[in-house]
Structures are given as structure tokens and as C-alpha cells.
Symmetry: C2
Subunit: 319 residues, 2 copies
């Protein structure tokens, strides 16, 4: 299981390859929230989301273990791009298994980053079966989107940066709000802060109607989302907390928040106006909770990704 | 006159107060330009532009000299916000003299950052006369937008960061493209790089039709713009190169570029898509030149500001 030593090792592997993303703030956002707000701008990471961190670390670890013929992943989104670029930069081929009906721009971007995209029909084909066959035939190693110890360790490096940057800003107690899908980023940051900033408490943030983690926290056992589509926050919709991530969330995190789509769009517009960064709806949910939910003391919102199409941003800006 | 020692001193004053803005890149932009493109994201500086650097340094220097009853500035834009916030953070009152017909949002933002806004009628009143009277009556010190040695030194700190960040990226020769109005940022960066990255050459970038610096370079003497309005790149429109900035530009800069409004809008959209940052048209002209003008070897484009209204960004994204 992921621990602080694995996160430190991941930071060593990422050094000089991943960006140290800035911790941003604006007096205008402090005014709205009624308390100091800081934003960890992971949208500025390579490929526009934190996913590059976990992908880079997992692929590095596979190479060090000599399992390095190539990489395979399942994703239509941020994980696909993170894996594609990290693999290419480490000189490995990558295969991304994607639904054939994924948006053309996502398929193009993933190909442009050097991956071979293998489309499958969601209605008639089994993604896992296709992936397993390709992995077997070509000797590829699977990099999972969140439920994998080295992926969680990679995402946790953003937590190390938060601890350092908050200390530089003189903050020793804070709520840390993290957009939460499968929980890789949330659990990685929680593990990093447990060791390096024990006065900080991590809270997962989800879209309303897709709050499996919040309901799991309340029930004390893992709950599932009824639906897996129909949210503009598609980047952070997963069926249920992961086998590896859930125990960490249960042990370390404070109760989560669920925000509406309108609140996510408003947070996108305010990040545009006041921080000059581009967020996707799923990447803006933690900022939405920081701005629109009451709380005491400093709050650090992780802005996990910015891969939004132009039409969706126009929608946010026209609110 | 500004020299590298003043820029180093400015960096000392700004440490812990200004942001060290990231140097961003994307393989997609490299592909468009046909060479490696790096973007110094000054839009992520406090108040959304590089102007905070010069304002902070000039106000610090005035305080150190004991001339610290308050600050006055003339500006309807980025300089106003930079001065207002820097003065407030240093515990000084500030007065910003602004045209009464400036956009309401700019007046509101400047007030919200703690400044007293004194409106004047462009048709009937003399800005300089109003400013001189207020300065005299209240003992305020003027912070000019570019033609002031400590302002140029402050802007030059972004050049120090470029030299360090480029060295970390292994770059020892590059074109450095800088959006150029009065030339404070351009000359400050040129002075910093002369000392710290002598393999780099700075080139000013202006909007077509407002290319007083480029025409001055070609003529060998200072030229004036015929018009001072009618450009979406309003943040970088000034009558003529400054008394202090022009000799630096003439001595150190390579020939400039002029880009069209369409090219600036396209660069804004590409910065949105690929870097996840928000640029204003004037802040995007250097990136436009990096992407759409031929050149050899690495190019570093300074993205000088991101204070764009939502409608203008919607226009850029709908191209």
C-alpha cells in the first residue's frame, strides 16, 4: 500500500519532469468565501491535469522493475493523455483503449501525444477483455487510473507541494478540498499531508448525484453511484471508491461536500476572472465548495484539471 | 538608469511577495511553431499581469527613501490594479486617476483592491494637472507605468526568472518575445538577460497599426503611433517608446514583430486549449508571434497579462 516513503520516491522520480504547479490566490476570492482561499493549480500540469504525476510514477516504477515493453490504459479522458505523454517521454509505446464514441478531439489529442488508440464498442465489446488480450499478446503493462499504489503515490506528490507551499505562506491549519472520482488524488494528498502537514484535513468534493464517496463516508461502507453518465463533471465520475483508495479516505478524510453543476460552472468563471486559469467542471468542484460552503480558517482547493472544450467554457462564462 | 544591480535588488524586495510565475509549454504548441515554445505566464502574477512587479518595487524603493505618505498613478488598466494592490499590501493609501468613461468593471476592481479612484473627463480635463495637484496637496508619490527606473527594474525580475527557468530546461540560446507598449517590461527583461543569459535576444511584439517601437527600430529614431485607440490590444497601446526604455531597446533588442488582432485572438484560444491559462489580447501578441512567425531554435514568449473580459474571451474561443 502507498505510504509517505513511496510518495517521496515518486517526488524524486517526477523531479525535473512534472511541473511544480503554483498555489494561487486572489483577494476577490477571499472576499466571496469570507476566508483565505488558496488554489493548487493542477490544471497547469503537463497534459492539463494531475494525471501526469501518477502516470509518470507508475511507468517509472515499471521500468525500474524491468517490466517495460509498453503501457496499456483504459480511459477517454485525462488519464489517457497523462499516460500517453509520460510513456512517450520515457521512450515506451502506449496503447489506450477508448470507447469508439469518445469525442473526436480526445481521441486526436491522445494520438497526438504518441499513443495508439484502440477503439471499442461500449454496447457490444468488453473493455477489460480487449485490454487483457492486448496486454498478453504484446507484453504491455496496465496502468490503472486510480486503484494502483504507484499511481496514488504519484498523485500524492501534489500533496507534498501543498505542504511546502502552505508552509511558505505561513499556513499551519487548513481544510484541503480535493475533487474526487475514484479517489487516487484524494488519498494520495491525504497520505502526504498526514506526514507533512498534520494540521490539515482533506475533504473529498463530488458533483451532486454522483456522491458515492460522501455517501460511503456517511454509511461507513462503500456505496455506488446509480448513474455513471449525465454529468458535466465527467472527469470525476466513477462507480464507487477504489479498493486501495477507500480505506485511506475512510481513515484520513473529513466528511466530503457535494456541489451542483451550477456551482461548478460559477467556480470556473471565477477562476477565469480572478486567477486566469482554465478549469474543467470536474476540476472546479473543490473551488466551488471552498467559495460557496461555509467554513472557518484557510481553505486550499485543488483545481485538478483544465481539459474543457471551448463550448463548455463559453457556457460557464455566460452564466 | 536601471541596471542589473537594481534588478537584483528588486528581486530581493519582491521575494515572498510576487509570484515566481511558471514557464509553461505544450507539445501541441511546439508542433504549430515548428520549434520549442515556452511561455512565461505573467498572467498568473498578482492582479493578473506583470505590472505588480514594477509597482511593488517602486513603492518599496519610495518607502525605503522615506517618501511614503501615499501613491498616485494614472491608469485605467493593469498598472492601476498592480499599484493598488502593492500599495495596500505595503500599508500605503493609493489614488488612481482614471478616465470617467473607463469600463465600470475596471473602476470597481481597482477600488476593491483598496485604491481611491479619481475620475476625470478626457474631453475637458487635464490628467497630469489633476495628478500634480493631488500629489502636491496630499504629498503623494507618482508611480509611472513604464518610464521610471525602479519600475523597469521590477519588470526585469521576470527576466531573471526566465534566465533561471530556461537554464533548468537546458536552453542556452533563444529568442525572447515580449509584448511591448511603453517598453518597461521589454527593457527590464532585456537588461536582465544581457547579464544572465547572453545567448538570448529580446524582440518586442506589438499589434499591427500600433507598432511605434518596430518603426522606431527601423528608423533609428523614436516614432509615434498615429492612433491611440481602436485596438483590442488596448493594454499595450502607448504613444511612443519611453525616454528611459527606448535607449535600452535600441541597444539590446532584435527587430520586433507586429501581429494582427486575429493572430492575437488565435493565440488566446491556443493558450486556453493547450496551456490552460487566460490571456488578454495584448498579453497574447508575443505568443502569436512565436506561433505564427518563422524562426529557428527555442522561443520564449512572455504572456504579459490576462485581464480580459468574458465577452472578449468568448470571441477568441468562437474563432
Amino acid at each position: 500500500m502507498t505510504d509517505i516513503h513511496m510518495i517521496d520516491a515518486a517526488a524524486g522520480r517526477l523531479s525535473g519532469h512534472a511541473r511544480r504547479t503554483p498555489l494561487l490566490s486572489s483577494p476577490f476570492l477571499d472576499e466571496i468565501a469570507g476566508r483565505p482561499v488558496f488554489v493548487k493549480a493542477e490544471c497547469l500540469q503537463h497534459t492539463g491535469s494531475f494525471k501526469f504525476r501518477g502516470a509518470w510514477n507508475a511507468i517509472s516504477a515499471l521500468r525500474e522493475a524491468g517490466e517495460s515493453k509498453g503501457i496499456i490504459a483504459f480511459s477517454s479522458g485525462n488519464h489517457a493523455q497523462g499516460v500517453a505523454l509520460a510513456a512517450r517521454l520515457q521512450g515506451l509505446p502506449s496503447v489506450i483503449v477508448m470507447p469508439a464514441d469518445a469525442p473526436a478531439i480526445k481521441i486526436e489529442n491522445t494520438r497526438a501525444l504518441g499513443a495508439e488508440v484502440v477503439p471499442y464498442d461500449r454496447a457490444t465489446e468488453d473493455r477489460d477483455e480487449i485490454g487483457a488480450r492486448l496486454a498478453r499478446e504484446r507484453g504491455l503493462s496496465l496502468v490503472k487510473p486510480f486503484d494502483m499504489a504507484e499511481v496514488i503515490a504519484g498523485q500524492g506528490t501534489s500533496g507534498l507541494e501543498i505542504a511546502e507551499q502552505a508552509a511558505e505562506a505561513g499556513i499551519d491549519r487548513a481544510q484541503v478540498l480535493v475533487p474526487c472520482g475514484g479517489g487516487g488524488l484524494t488519498s494520495g494528498i491525504a497520505l502526504a499531508l498526514e506526514a507533512r502537514a498534520p494540521g490539515f484535513t482533506v475533504h473529498p468534493v463530488e458533483p451532486e448525484g454522483f456522491d458515492d464517496v460522501l455517501r460511503s463516508q456517511k454509511a461507513g461502507t462503500r456505496q455506488r453511484n446509480e448513474r455513471l453518465s449525465g454529468s458535466i463533471c465527467d472527469a470525476i465520475i466513477t462507480p464507487t471508491p477504489g479498493d486501495l483508495t477507500w480505506p485511506v479516505i475512510q481513515r484520513l478524510c473529513g466528511e466530503g461536500f457535494a456541489v451542483s453543476e451550477d456551482e461548478a460552472l460559477k467556480a470556473m468563471a471565477l477562476a477565469f476572472d480572478r486567477l486566469k486559469i482554465v478549469l474543467e467542471p470536474g476540476g472546479a468542484v473543490a473551488l466551488a465548495a471552498a467559495l460557496f460552503r461555509p467554513g472557518e480558517g484557510p481553505v486550499i482547493a485543488v483545481a485538478s484539471g483544465g481539459n474543457v472544450d471551448r463550448a463548455m467554457m463559453a457556457r460557464a462564462l455566460s452564466q
